[in-house]
């Protein structure tokens, strides 16, 4: 010890720090759920609701400020089977490679007839393609198809609506109406946290 002090290189015991670092690494590895890449930027409305969004089994229906509808589901394997299922029910053929790409693709806003071509692109280029949004018209309601097939494939799915604060209510009504017609009556509205004002103090 005296020798090393003479040399001017103090010996630091690194072990506690390494222990701590690995403890934290383990903690974060186990608790982390990867943030899903968001298909479109949305400014959420604020609320004082205190429930949290469930971490799993959520179908996220995103409504962009311009009214386009995007869909995101979690569960890699469910997604893979879901695409095949949707393909069978609508007569659009998807290959196994496309199903695999879809399983990893995250949210999308592509009509079914363009989805195959979109999935064939490399993931980095998918963002560049302008998304027309999933049709929710009464004539061609693909959102309804997706929801019905997703819930048939995985009944635990719950529907969360992630809509921009400035979207006109007519568009929200189109989405909720579509869902209601298909038997989804419970929704989760995703909002941003707003501190609850102190109640009772204001007179």
């Amino acid at each position: 010890m005296a020798r090393s002090a003479q040399h001017g290189s103090p010996v630091l015991d690194m072990n506690p720090m390494v222990d701590l670092a690995f403890l934290l690494v383990t903690f974060f590895m186990l608790t982390t759920t990867f943030r899903m890449p968001e298909p479109v930027a949305v400014a959420l409305p604020a609320s004082t609701a205190e429930t949290k969004l469930p971490e799993r089994d959520v179908i996220q229906v995103t409504v962009a400020p311009d009214g386009r509808v995007f869909l995101d589901l979690d569960g890699k394997h469910v997604r893979e089977r879901l695409l095949m299922r949707v393909g069978r029910s609508t007569g659009v053929a998807f290959s196994a490679g496309q199903a695999e790409a879809f399983a990893l693709a995250g949210g999308h806003g592509m009509p079914l007839d363009q989805l195959g071509a979109w999935l064939a692109l490399p993931p980095a280029e998918r963002k560049e393609v302008p998304a027309p949004g999933i049709p929710v018209d009464s004539l061609r309601n693909e959102l309804g198809t997706w929801i019905v097939q997703a819930r048939a494939e995985h009944p635990a799915y719950r529907v969360a609506i992630r809509a921009d604060a400035d979207v006109p209510y007519a568009r929200i009504k189109a989405v909720t109406g579509t869902l209601l017609e298909r038997g989804v009556t419970r929704f989760i509205l995703i909002t941003e946290t707003e501190p609850a004002p102190a109640t009772g103090t204001a007179s």
């Binding site: 690494v25 974060f28 982390t32 429930t51 929200i172 995703i190 909002t191």
Partner: protein
Amino acid sequence: MKRAVDGNRFARPGRTPREARGEQLPVSIDMNPMVDLAFLLLTFFMLASSFNQPQAMELVLPPPPEPDEAVMEQPVKESKALTLVLGEADRLYWYRGITEPEVQESTYGPAGLERLLREQLAATPDLVVLVKPLDASRYANLVDVLDDLGRAAAPRYALTEAGPEDRRLIEALARSGENKNGEINNQAAP
């Protein structure tokens, strides 16, 4: 380089007799790369993890009536009904009762809607609130109203369609508001 030399010094003969005999060599492992890696992973997971799950609001809507089923309007007692109509450009209208009500305008926020709900609930504990957003109203308005209703602990509220009647009432209010404003201006002028 220096480290490598340091590491080698134990192998050099003649340092101390103990070392020279090769007994009980203090093993010194360079931990730095491991620490680097550990902190790299730590940083990565800290940044990648989504700790703050977004807030969520539950909304349960009644299923639409079957086409062949007679539409059953839930009877709401007129004395208990409070209707909120969400208009365009962040306007909020409200009225009590159903037939020929007196429409008033309010605002979102603590001074407007929150206070209105508190007063109305104090007057009528079993209030039934009908929320009628117009097509042009913003989604944020709906969330605001639902949030305030939840916080005010309104016992019953329903999200329903605004009918032509509501539209007519609001237009009438807008017209009378214009007139009133004109009168006020006229009065204020002299």
